[in-house]
């Protein structure tokens, strides 16, 4: 628990005020008097909140400003002059002209009486009270409680009794969840946890069981937390005013001695957290209420899964080896830089300037990413730089730039509060972007409608108090057909927004597009045949999106990771423009980004054809800015993309690669091809926290630093630039930007950044959309959304308000082209891939935390029909084979997937799901077609030979010869 306490003006801690009840939006205000002070608040605000806004903290236990008031603890009672009784200030709205007293003798007496009853059933030796992590002791002191006249002999919740006379209500401690403990004896049944689970998280896993004195908080059907439907988001722990729900880390380590606000390094939601520290150790991560992406909420990854930062697998010294079959040899930083300098020099001399390149990381900061592309462009002298966005959202970049003029989502996350119809396409927010999913579910419970386009019946389709109006379970690979059919309905039924289109878009292009979508092959009836979605569903969904009010589209990698990924993004943009759903809160086109800094790594010029700010490398004026600053001539030709680098390596013209914070061997498609490319190189430099799978093919290893160990910024899916703050010294000695800088120095460039803020200054000075961004501004505003410049000094929450960035919005014809990856007699099933809540990406971080209790291996989801046909039972080992390769894993039988479709995650290297994915990729960007692979599934005895060989290879290539300790 933690959310309710305030540490006042202690400068070591981030100050957060709990106003007791949520803020209210209203055009009308009311003015009242509280303890003699005049206060004006929006109509509907509680007296409790009005008081706190005036600086008066009314005692309370069962209220906080994240959930609706409940009025159960009776501590917050107040008197209103001229009115009888003592109403609860949390549930009583402020009214014009009333005069409220929060401190009177009568109130103090009542509060003491209430607290005395509570304390008579609270453990006298409550460790949380002693540590200052339990509000009970605080409140007892606040109300001046001096005595307990009731004793503890009566019925209580405190201790088991052998006689059974008292203690009948005792319940055992529940420590099943790896991160927090539930001690029912400290619980006062204020129901804050129940409300947090419902209102904030939207899971409804907790309830109050029993009545009166027997009431108890229980998870699920009175199960241990771990067995219940609890998703371990931590909202209940944060809300608990007592020590009943408490982080195990606090129980083990004690209370923090300082805190700092930073940004989560998991998904693209980019939640703000307070890192609460004790010395050099993280005690806990607590979601920060002023974080504009998460508004005080969190998920199991950001809140709890930070243990990888100090995991024993972390490599802390640089290492070198001649051949990838040699053991690693630890070396000094001087030696590793000298080695890199001579190797890159040798290779460029022998094979040409274009024979080397780099991959930037979407896990690293903007500043670090900027430096890696600068290293490639200025120091290597070519444009062979790419980033892992290649394999996830590069089609978003191409598609939105073509149609709208800029490669980014159009809204902020707050926008969803104004949406009436939400269309979720190829995304699984409850697992991939859980904190956004909670905000979305909140809006859906308030009445917004939901349409889901996904081959799987994802949780959002039907989950407590949320049900999609339409689920279009399309066959993998038919996105474009279905989206164009939606457009067909909108145009043929006249549901488009002509005024918007005439004003904002090119009318001739619209007419051309309209005649294209009206072609008979785009009708729902025609598309039904290839997509498997009934025409009626398509028509219904189209009508709802076009006519249901503010329509917002959120999409994920189920859109981009296809042969027609870029076409799908343009089809989405077409729909939004045709219905006028662009340029105001509640609407828009919103890519849900996979990694914490995918947006930022793209913004920072990580693509081989673009300088920072999405300016093509062929633009002379753009190059001139950098040429004069960097003192070199820049190549005006696009460089190699990741798959092209690997192709060129196999062909023999690409020989050295610097990979920062990516694991391309595990995350990129067709593992055999990646391995062949890496094997063909002479110098692979991996810069990472761990010896990842790519490092099995590396010659140089540079130890990386975690997000806790450095300053910088991440940019989330809303274009929001959030600060990352260093809370501990890098265990490896250097932040990643320092290592890249030293590499540049070893290669003869005199880089001299002393702090990431200086790198941001260079970014701002050279990139128009970042012109106004400084660390001072971020300190003042908390965060800003780009574009941030003279025209938008504090950033841009919603884009394209008065017109599109490119001028007129562009409608593009989106003809459906079936992928060449087709099912047939040998490979009759379609494999699609995804992720689950507790794990992240290739799992390098989350596998090194307690999150493995939820998911310790990748499973193949298969429909009962297909399983039955193949004699596969729940939990059986199965072989998954495509034309690229084969792997083995266990099967789970479920109707979430349709017959003919199988699904797995790729969180565990032992599975190597990408051994089976193919070389097919998006026509425009080479983003791999992860979401469609034709496969066969058959019973198997265990891991394949390749998996066993690979495991042995991995074991061999991770041998390290440690240096002798210095004398």
């Amino acid at each position: 628990m933690c959310g309710t306490q305030e540490r006042g003006t202690d400068k070591r801690f981030v100050e957060e005020i709990d106003y007791g009840t949520p803020a209210v939006r209203s055009d009308k205000t009311v003015t009242l008097t509280i303890d003699g002070q005049s206060v004006t608040v929006p109509e509907g605000t509680s007296i409790m909140r009005a008081a706190r806004e005036a600086g008066i903290a009314v005692p309370k236990l069962c209220a906080n400003d994240m959930v609706k008031s409940f009025g159960s603890c009776r501590l917050c009672l107040v008197e209103i002059e001229g009115k009888g009784g003592t109403p609860a200030s949390c549930t009583t709205p402020a009214m014009d002209g009333i005069s409220v007293n929060t401190q009177t003798d009568r109130l103090n007496t009542i509060r003491r009486g209430v607290m005395e009853l509570y304390m008579s059933d609270h453990p006298e030796d409550c460790a949380a009270c002693a540590a200052g992590d339990c509000e009970m002791a605080n409140m007892a002191e606040t109300v001046g409680l001096k005595q307990n006249r009731y004793g503890d002999e009566g019925a209580n919740h405190l201790e088991p009794s052998p006689i059974g006379e008292h203690g009948v209500n005792f319940k055992e401690l529940d420590v099943s969840n790896p991160y927090f403990a539930y001690d029912p004896s400290k619980c006062i049944v204020c129901s804050l946890c129940v409300r947090a689970c419902e209102e904030q998280q939207g899971t409804f896993a907790l309830t109050v069981e029993g009545r009166g004195f027997e009431s108890r908080i229980t998870a699920g059907m009175d199960e241990p937390f771990l067995q219940s439907e609890c998703v371990s988001c931590g909202a209940c722990v944060q809300a608990c005013p007592t020590g009943a729900l408490q982080e195990k880390s606090i129980i083990e380590m004690g209370m923090p001695d300082r805190s700092a606000v930073t940004t989560c390094a998991y998904c693209g939601v980019g939640c703000s957290f307070k890192a609460e520290m004790k010395g050099e150790e993280v005690v806990r991560m607590v979601p920060y209420k002023d974080g504009k992406a998460n508004r005080g909420h969190s998920c199991v990854k950001g809140r709890f899964a930070y243990g990888y930062a100090t995991h024993r697998d972390r490599i802390l010294n640089p290492m070198i080896r001649e051949k990838i079959t040699d053991p690693w040899r630890e070396v000094s930083w001087e030696e590793v830089y000298a080695h890199i300098g001579s190797e890159i020099g040798r290779i460029q001399k022998k094979y040409g300037r274009g024979s080397v390149g780099g991959i930037t990381s979407s896990r690293c900061t903007n500043e670090e990413t900027y430096l890696v592309q600068k290293l490639v462009r200025q120091v290597f002298g070519n444009n062979n730089v790419d980033t892992c966005a290649r394999v996830c959202h590069s089609p978003t970049g191409y598609g939105l730039k073509t149609t709208f003029g800029t490669s980014a989502g159009t809204q902020d996350f707050d926008s969803v509060e104004h949406s009436d119809v939400v269309l979720v396409i190829g995304a699984n927010p409850t697992d991939g972007h859980p904190v956004f999913a909670s905000r979305l579910k909140k809006r859906l419970r308030e009445g917004a409608k939901l349409i889901v386009l996904d081959p799987r019946r994802i949780d959002l389709v039907r989950t407590p108090h949320v049900e999609a109006s339409y689920h279009l379970p399309l066959k993998p690979g038919t996105n474009v057909a279905v989206l164009t059919a939606l457009a067909h309905v909108i145009v043929s039924e006249g549901l488009f927004d002509e005024a918007f289109i005439r004003e904002r878009c090119d009318w001739d292009e619209f007419q051309d597009w309209a005649s294209f979508v009206l072609q008979p092959e785009n009708s729902p009836e025609a598309v039904e045949k290839m997509s498997g979605v009934s025409a009626e569903l398509i028509r219904g969904a189209a009508r709802l999106y076009a006519t249901g009010g503010n329509g917002a589209i959120y999409y994920g990698l189920g859109v981009t990771e296809h042969s027609q990924g870029s076409t799908t993004v343009m089809a989405i943009a077409n729909l939004a423009m045709a219905t006028g759903n662009i340029g105001r809160p509640g609407v828009g086109v919103n890519p849900l980004r996979g990694q914490n800094n995918v947006q930022g790594s793209c913004d920072m010029g990580s693509f081989p054809h673009e300088m920072p700010g999405y300016r093509h490398i062929s633009e002379d004026a753009t190059r001139a800015i950098y040429e004069s600053l960097w003192g070199v001539k820049l190549d005006n030709e696009p460089g190699l993309r990741i798959p092209n680098m690997l192709d060129a390596a196999v062909d023999g013209s690409f020989k050295a690669l610097y990979v920062q914070g990516e694991d391309i061997l595990q995350s990129d498609p067709n593992t055999h091809h990646v391995a062949a490319g890496l094997e063909a190189m002479e110098c692979v430099i991996v810069h990472d926290l761990f010896l990842n799978e790519t490092a099995n093919y590396a010659h140089v290893f540079l130890p990386g630093s975690t997000f806790l160990e450095k300053d910088g910024t991440f940019t989330n899916a809303e274009r929001r630039i959030n600060r990352v703050r260093k809370v501990m010294e890098p265990k490896n000695g250097y932040a990643d930007w320092e290592v890249t800088q030293d590499m540049a120095r070893a290669l003869g460039q005199n880089w001299n950044y002393t702090h990431p803020s200086e790198i941001m200054a260079e970014i701002a000075a050279t990139t128009p959309s970042f012109a106004g961004v400084t660390y001072e501004l971020l300190e003042k505003e908390g965060s800003v959304q780009w574009p941030c410049n003279e025209k938008a000094p504090t950033g841009t929450p919603v884009m394209h308000i008065d017109g599109f960035v490119r001028g007129k919005g562009k409608f593009v014809r989106t003809a459906y082209v079936a992928t060449d990856e087709k099912v047939g007699p040998r490979f009759p099933l379609l494999l699609t891939t995804g992720r689950i809540l507790s794990q992240y990406n290739v799992g390098a971080q989350t596998r090194r935390t307690e999150n493995v209790v939820w998911h310790d291996e990748d499973l193949l989801e298969i429909h009962p029909f297909d399983a039955e046909n193949r004699g596969i039972r729940e939990g059986d080992w199965v072989k998954l084979k495509s034309r690229s390769g084969e792997t083995s894993l266990r099967a789970t039988i479920t109707e979430r997937v349709a017959p003919g479709v199988v699904y797995t995650t790729f969180h565990h290297p032992a599975t190597q799901a990408n051994v089976v994915t193919t070389e097919y990729s998006d026509w425009a960007t080479n983003c791999p077609e992860y979401k469609v692979t034709a496969v066969q599934v058959s019973p198997s005895n265990g891991p394949t030979e390749w998996q066993e060989d690979y495991e042995e290879h991995a074991r061999q290539s991770r041998r390290i010869v440690h240096v002798e300790a210095a004398e």
């Binding site: 040409g352 274009g354 444009n383 062979n384 051309d512 294209f516 042969s563 076409t567 081989p608 054809h609 093509h616 062929s618 030709e637 696009p638 460089g639 190699l640 993309r641 092209n644 192709d647 060129a648 196999v650 062909d651 013209s653 067709n670 055999h672 091809h673 062949a676 593009v812 014809r813 989106t814 003809a815 082209v817 034309r883 690229s884 390769g885 193919t918 070389e919 990729s921 026509w923 425009a924 960007t925 080479n926």
Partner: protein, 81 residues
């Protein structure tokens, strides 16, 4: 390569990628087709890839879609390295 021989690599993959681009632009308004393909390849293909494409065209352009061949008139030839 050790795995299935149907896996596309090298020239075959390059031709495949060029044809994929042509397939998209085939559906666009006629006037934009060849120009669209050329512009796309100029913007996103590294000179080595364009160089190899021209070599394939000079060897007869086996397997390349007619639209790629038409577009090659305006695809930039890479400068000699």
């Amino acid at each position: 390569m050790s795995h299935d021989e149907k896996f596309k690599s090298g020239d075959e993959h390059l031709v495949y990628m060029a044809n994929q681009i042509a397939t998209f632009f085939t559906s666009q308004p006629e006037a934009e087709r060849a120009a669209g393909v050329a512009d796309h390849i100029n913007k996103f293909w590294e000179p080595r890839m364009r160089g190899r494409l021209f070599e394939i065209i000079e060897m007869g352009g086996d397997g390349l879609s007619p639209l790629v061949l038409e577009a090659s008139q305006t695809i930039n030839r890479p400068k000699a390295a």
